[in-house]
Every structure is written in structure tokens, then in C-alpha cells.
């Protein structure tokens, strides 16, 4: 297999069963295909809660098995790794999570995770070497081992824990970091610092990111490429500038119009249909946005649109056939 793409997500779906005996099938992720080149880049997956982005992230990390489709990292199937490849994979791909106060076990001291990562993934035995690497990683995020040694998660602020979490992820010097809503539970004034850290990592250590968020403003700030998800499907995908400024798909338009921005009051007030009771939208055979789309047609309700090309972006909408 050629190593041309860093990450190749091939027609991946994740179906959960619910209801009596789990017979009603509910696709959290529905036939998603995307790829990341083997070049340092920040790729954003954006969408509201429930759109499947977190499930997709967990599948990329090999923690949840897809019901259909494959995920290849540098040519190797993430869910079929031989045991010696597993350590290799953990060195190459790391993650940062949303809730700072659940990222680390509240009953354990935070530095234990740093030591574990260093000894398990870097195969270092020498105490001094380990401490050196940890200190290096912490310093990059603006902290020091002295500051955090021996403390429990509840002794830190959300922003500090996210930084420790980033330091832990940086220890094996990964090529790809999957960041699942890393700043949504962090104070607004600290958010920018963490995002700037991602940008710095991109240039200094050539680390790629998959940035998962519901906040389009932060997505615009750091992304190179972006994919917009709605109810398990990708509705629009392409370079961030083009997708967020040109806005082809009706859902992208609705999302951007709903962003409350000081100074954009009039634009914000335009009427938009809100999503209703959610489960039935996941189960429709046609376009999942059809229910509330202002451009809805018969075809939209019956047939699911594939991704069409519209300039530099791809849009899953019959309007762009």
C-alpha cells in the first residue's frame, strides 16, 4: 500500500442499535470518506453535537470499531494492527479530549500519566531521561514539572489541564494529533493561547491536527481544510477559506448565519428553521437536512446526494449536480 496519505477514511459507517433488542438501527456515522495528505496540516471536522464527529474521531484513534469501511493510517489498517504495530501507532497518533476534568482520573495524580507515556511509548528506563523529556514537553506548553508534580486534577484550572494533556500527547512526538473539542470547555481568554499552540506545533514540529469542533470561528482561525458534518454525513468539504467564506451547502449557510458575532446583528436575525426532534432525522433515506432545508425538493427527501464538485470544494447537495 502506498504511503501517500497520512490518513485515509474509506466509506466508514458506525451503526448503533437501539430500541427493543436493538433492532432499530441508528447510523451515528454514515458513509464518510475523507483523506489527509502526508503534509503538516490542520484538518477540521465541524458540526453540532450529535453529528457524529466524536464517534468518527474515536474510530480514527482505533478505539471504536467501524461497522463498515476502513481507516488506514500511513497505509496500515487502524483496527487490524499487529501487536508490535500498536506501540508504533500510539507513538504516531495521539489525542486531546474535551473535558479537562475527565481527561485525567480524578483519583490519580496528573503526572502519573506523563510518566506512563514516557516509559511505555518512549521505552525509557532511566528516571532522569524520563524527567527530562517530560520537562521538555511541559515547557513547550508553558508549564514546568515542578508546578504540576504530585497534584490532582482538581487542583488545576481547565486551561492548565488542557496544557498538561497536550504535553502528554507531545511526549512521543506524534505525527498526528486528534483534538476533540479541545477548547470548548476552556475559558474564552485562554482558548486563543491553546489554538496558537496548535499553530506553533504545526510549523515547529510539523505535527498535523484533526481539530474537531462546533465553533466555526475557531475553526476558521486555525484550519487549512474543513469538513462540515450533519447527522453522520459530510455535507461539505474543502479548503477552510473557501468552505467558510463561500458557503455552498444550505447547512453551512445556516450555521454561519447563526454565529452570533458582535457587529453582525442584522445578518444574525434572519429566520432559519431549527432542527426538531432528532432521532427521525438520522433514519431518513434521503438527504438528512431535507426536513428543514429551504431548498427542499421531492428528490432530496427520497435520494441521498453524493458529493459534487463546486469549484475547490465538494458539496453533498442536489443543487450542485
Amino acid at each position: 500500500m502506498s504511503e501517500e496519505n497520512l490518513l485515509q477514511v474509506e466509506d466508514v459507517s458506525k451503526i448503533y442499535g437501539y430500541g427493543f433488542l436493538g433492532r432499530v438501527k441508528f447510523p451515528a456515522v454514515d458513509h464518510v470518506t475523507l483523506s489527509m495528505e502526508n503534509k503538516p496540516k490542520i484538518f477540521t471536522i465541524a458540526g453540532e453535537s450529535g453529528c457524529g464527529k466524536t464517534t468518527l474521531a474515536r474510530m480514527m484513534l482505533g478505539m471504536v470499531k467501524p461497522t463498515a469501511g476502513t481507516i488506514l493510517y500511513r497505509g496500515k489498517n487502524v483496527h487490524n494492527l499487529k501487536s508490535r504495530d500498536r506501540t508504533w501507532f500510539l507513538r504516531e497518533v495521539q489525542a486531546i479530549f474535551q473535558d479537562p476534568f475527565d481527561t485525567f482520573n480524578p483519583l490519580k495524580r496528573v503526572d502519573t500519566y506523563l510518566y506512563e507515556t514516557a516509559s511505555n511509548l518512549l521505552k525509557l528506563k532511566n528516571d532522569e531521561e524520563i524527567r527530562g523529556k517530560i520537562e521538555e514537553a511541559l515547557r513547550f506548553t508553558g508549564l514546568s514539572l515542578e508546578e504540576i508534580a504530585g497534584k490532582y486534577p482538581n487542583e488545576f484550572s481547565g486551561g492548565q489541564i488542557q496544557r498538561i494533556s497536550i504535553a502528554r500527547a507531545l511526549l512521543p512526538k506524534p505525527r498526528l494529533i486528534v483534538a476533540d473539542e479541545p477548547v470548548s470547555m476552556v475559558d474564552a481568554s485562554i482558548r486563543i493561547n491553546i489554538l496558537n499552540m496548535f499553530k506553533a506545533l504545526l510549523t515547529k514540529t510539523e505535527t498535523s491536527f484533526i481539530y474537531i469542533t462546533h465553533d466555526l470561528a475557531t475553526a476558521y482561525y486555525i484550519s487549512d481544510e474543513i469538513a462540515i458534518m450533519y447527522r453522520g454525513m459530510i455535507v461539505e468539504i474543502g479548503p477552510a477559506e473557501k468552505v467558510l467564506l463561500k458557503r455552498h451547502h444550505p447547512y453551512t449557510q445556516a450555521l454561519v448565519k447563526s454565529l452570533p458575532e458582535p457587529g453582525k446583528k442584522e445578518e444574525w436575525k434572519t429566520r432559519i428553521n431549527a432542527p426538531g426532534m432528532e432521532i427521525k432525522e438520522f433514519l431518513s433515506p434521503g438527504c438528512k437536512y431535507a426536513d428543514i432545508c429551504p431548498h427542499k425538493t421531492e428528490r432530496c427527501v427520497k435520494e441521498k446526494p453524493p458529493l459534487f464538485e463546486a469549484g475547490d470544494v465538494k458539496v453533498a447537495c442536489w443543487l450542485y449536480e
Binding site: F97, N105, L107, T112, S165, R168
Partner: protein, 289 residues
């Protein structure tokens, strides 16, 4: 690094509970006294508590015979002490077996899932459905001639392991999805490390409470079986004392000391273990907040 610190932390937590919870202190003290009565005092017993007619029979409590004597010529006080020890031994054996077997099965089922989980839960549910007491009656009746104190403890554990197994499994299922477990995996920790260092700390508190509750359950069950004569009648347990007292119509014949001693002791033991268990769970709830 961690195992010694682990143990030390548990001990310091326990000392903390002792200091802050009146309920725990009270219960713990009574249990401690019971242990002295049950294990230390019998070593100094002037009579063999199992021998009949070693003292004048049916004497009311006096300065000589603190709690009186029974129809079979036994000193109620010394019989009581020895019974306490035996009952507690049975109860602790039950708790040791049942709560740990339950814990192990719950952990395995919860963390592995799949076929192992389904098989273990099938086993567990089977035992839950079979009426426990009736099962015990059958087993004890069959093994009546071979029963010893430890064996009694083991038999009762047959019906007390399924519940903790189910509980632990559901706790593990929800703990498994917590973010820090993902962080642990990304840090290269393998499944057994995650079990011991990530999940167990969240389960230990519950496990202790369950241990205390199982002791309670065991004492009660042994008592209930004994009243039907389904216990080791050749030895002394609180239940057996009750059996003899009832069978010799102690209450009707005015030998109130013979029947009230074991009853009062049973009630006291119950209350104290219950208080210990409540004290523990209250502390755990406060810690979680």
C-alpha cells in the same frame, strides 16, 4: 512505586472516616468489642462452651453466671462469646469469597465484553433467579454431616456472589467510557494496568461497603438456617444458640436470659455493621462531590 502508596492511601482514608463519621466510629467500636468477646475471651473460658451439663442448669443471671445458664447446663455468657466468634468467622469467610468472586467476575465481564461477558452474565443470572434460601436449605440438608464452620461460610457465599458481580459489571461498563480510560490507553497502559490503577480506585469504596453488607447478610442467613436446625448444631453459632433456646421453649419457661442474649447480640452486630457500611458510603459520596 504505586502499590505501597496505594495501600497507605487506603489506610489514611479509613482513618479519616473514623475521625469524621460518628456512625462509623460507633459501629466500628462495637465490632471491635465483639471481636474481643468472640475471639480473645473464649481463650480464657473456664468451661468448655460445647460441653453439656458443665454448670448447674437454668440458673438466672447472677454474679457467678453473668448471663445465667441454659437447660443443657451451659454458661450462657461463655456460650455467647464463643458463638459470636464462630458467627463472625462464618460471615467473614462468606464475605471474602463472595465479594471477591463477584468483583472478579464483574470486572472480567465488564472490561472484556463479548462472549465472555454473555457467558458470565448467563451464569450470574441463573444464580440470581434460583431462590437463594431454598438452594441453601437443599445444600445444607445434603451436606449436614460434613458441615464445618468454614464450609458453612463457603456455602452461604454461593448465593451472595451474583449480586456484586452484576453491580461491579455495570460500574465497569460506565467507567470504561470515561475519558481518562482513553487517556490511559493512549499512554500505552495495557488492560490489566487500567483495571488496577484506573478502575479499581473507583470501585474500592463500593467493594468495602459490599463486604460489610455481605457480612450482615451472612450472619442473618446463618441465623435463619439455624432456626430450622440447618446449621452445625454440634458447634456454637448465634443461630444455633437461638435454635436450642427455641427448641427448649426458653421463653415460655421463663428462661428469658437464654433467648434474649443471642437476639440482643444479633441486633447489636447488625446495627454496627450497618452503621459502618453507611458511614463508608456517606464518606464516598462526599468524596465524589
Amino acid at each position: 512505586m504505586s502499590k505501597l502508596k496505594y495501600g497507605r492511601r487506603i489506610i489514611s482514608n479509613l482513618m479519616d472516616i473514623y475521625k469524621t463519621s460518628f456512625k462509623f466510629r460507633f459501629g466500628f467500636t462495637v465490632i471491635f468489642l465483639m471481636c474481643i468477646l468472640g475471639f480473645i475471651l473464649p481463650l480464657f473460658s473456664p468451661v468448655n462452651p460445647r460441653a453439656w451439663y458443665s454448670v448447674p442448669k437454668e440458673q438466672p443471671p447472677s454474679s457467678r453466671y453473668l448471663l445465667g445458664t441454659t437447660t443443657m447446663g451451659r454458661d450462657v455468657f461463655w456460650e455467647l462469646c464463643s458463638s459470636i466468634g464462630k458467627s463472625l468467622t462464618i460471615a467473614v469467610i462468606t464475605a471474602m469469597i463472595a465479594s471477591h468472586v463477584g468483583l472478579l467476575i464483574g470486572l472480567l465481564a465488564g472490561i472484556r465484553g463479548g462472549l465472555l461477558d454473555r457467558f458470565l452474565m448467563f451464569l450470574t443470572d441463573t444464580f440470581i433467579i434460583i431462590p437463594g434460601f431454598i438452594l441453601l436449605v437443599v445444600v445444607v440438608t445434603v451436606m449436614k454431616n460434613f458441615i464445618t464452620i468454614p464450609l458453612m461460610g463457603a456455602i452461604i457465599s454461593i448465593v451472595s456472589w451474583p449480586w456484586p458481580a452484576r453491580q461491579v459489571r455495570s460500574m465497569v461498563l460506565s467507567l470504561r467510557e470515561r475519558t481518562f480510560v482513553y487517556t490511559a490507553r493512549l499512554s500505552g497502559m495495557n488492560t490489566s494496568k487500567i483495571l488496577i490503577f484506573e478502575l479499581m480506585p473507583h470501585l474500592l469504596g463500593w467493594h468495602l461497603v459490599n463486604f460489610a453488607n455481605t457480612i450482615l447478610f451472612s450472619i442473618g442467613t446463618e441465623g435463619s438456617l439455624a432456626i430450622f436446625g440447618l446449621s452445625l448444631l454440634s458447634d456454637n453459632t448465634l443461630g444455633v444458640m437461638l435454635y436450642w433456646a427455641i427448641n427448649y421453649y426458653a421463653l415460655y419457661r421463663g428462661l428469658w436470659w437464654w433467648i434474649s442474649a443471642p437476639i440482643a447480640t444479633l441486633v447489636l452486630i447488625f446495627i454496627s455493621f450497618y452503621l459502618v457500611s453507611i458511614g463508608l458510603s456517606e464518606y464516598l459520596h462526599r468524596m465524589v462531590r
